[in-house]
Symmetry: C2
DNA sequence: TCGCCGTTATCTGTGATATTTGATCGTAGG
DNA sequence: CCTACGATCAAATATCACAGATAACGGCGA
């Protein structure tokens, strides 16, 4: 089994922290589709006992980021082209809806904040896309929808999508990805209040996210 | 604390069973918004130890059916009008999408099966709406979408909606609810392949679901 | 006598650990 | 080469120990 890099966590509010540590590891693409994860190894790496890890893992299973195999071992869902298409459809539909609600309420200040996120220094070097920035940008927007129901659903989709990030990061064309173009279009459309343009730009951005791995599936790249 | 009726469960595959037992209790409207639930009491009722209950409960929290209060006690989310509106919007959007995909693939056989569900004997007596039938009908349809991504999201919405079922069941107008009309319209539209009509009927059915409790909120009715 | 406040006892979830169960993998024997 | 047995490992449950919160109870003051 590969050993994803997960930093040890501090000992207060263990359960929450374990969950977010694992969640972060997912959104950073530390886990590759098909990876087997073990509660013991995770708890050793995190410096805690199995109990908090198990609860966090159970939550991740509920959210679809991990699956229970029939033999009870935990696995990152293997690459599945159909499922990925499904995921893309779901993202397009849900995030379109959330964007709609966000545009009803967003203020000029918040648009400025979103632009500030784009202006920040890239954290991952120039060769890999800045996943954290991408995440921050989208959710700064989505949070403006004010929907406590839809937002967790979108987060669940991103978490499932997270396993595919590993494939993207290690893909040979990773450096070519240009997320800035669509992001700037979204900002511009928000300023204009142009709903159709914002929807188009967001849809294009989501399509882009899947484009790199759409053709060649299942190239498992562990650390 | 009220004592929701939860049957003891058999001892194999405990974790799954505990989860589904609690889930069922939710969809039967056994829990009222604002109820406090205790791990120990639940595990006593189910005849197991706390551990499996804890994991099941943790999953329900992740799905929004229960919430953690700041003092760490578990609570059924209290009635919240805004949240309910939010939930309705989400259900309308997501179930519309799922219906769309289901209509691409559904066969005449499956439509017959759905009709058979409607023809079955009502289980709850004539005064209360048959919640199980309603659930079975909708998900027989949604399963035809074949979407492993969207279906769990819809289930999560129904679970959050479940807490409000308690309010509906004990509502004075509960007997007046006529779910058959919209269901038959859906069946008819499916047979005709009339997408617009199916969408209209489904939307009307969802609206109906919320109508009873839309006006008077928070009438807490425990057992 | 009534009301307020502090103390205490109980009940809560949380984290850790031990025990049991089940599955997998390697090896030895046919 | 295939099969079957056993050792090993991981997950599932139960039990234990701890810390925090809640609520009830009793004493004190008005």
């Amino acid at each position: 089994m590969p050993a994803p890099r997960i930093a040890k966590i501090d000992q207060s509010k263990l359960r929450e922290n374990v969950y977010y540590a694992l969640r972060d590891a997912f959104t950073r693409g530390e886990f590759a589709p098909g990876d087997i994860v073990s509660l013991r190894i995770l708890s050793d790496q995190l410096g805690t006992s199995m109990t908090p890890v198990r609860e966090a893992v159970r939550r991740l299973v509920a959210e679809g980021a991990l699956i229970d195999t029939p033999s009870r071992t935990l696995m990152v869902p293997p690459f599945d082209s159909n499922r990925m298409q499904d995921l893309k459809k779901a993202r397009l539909a849900l995030e379109s809806l959330v964007l709609e609600q966000a545009m009803d309420r967003i203020s000029a200040d918040k648009i400025d904040e979103m632009e500030a996120i784009l202006a920040a220094e890239p954290r991952g070097g120039d060769t890999t896309p800045d996943l954290q920035q991408n995440y921050d940008f989208h959710f700064a927007l989505y949070r403006q929808s004010g929907s406590e129901v839809l937002l967790p659903l979108v987060e669940a989709l991103w978490l499932q999508y997270g396993a595919y990030l590993n494939l993207i990061i290690h893909h040979q064309d990773a450096g070519k990805i240009d997320q800035h173009k669509h992001h700037n279009e979204i900002i511009h459309a928000l300023r204009q209040g142009d709903r159709a343009a914002a929807q188009r730009a967001l849809a294009a951005d989501i399509e882009r996210s899947f484009q790199v791995i759409a053709s060649d599936g299942g190239q498992r790249v562990s650390r």
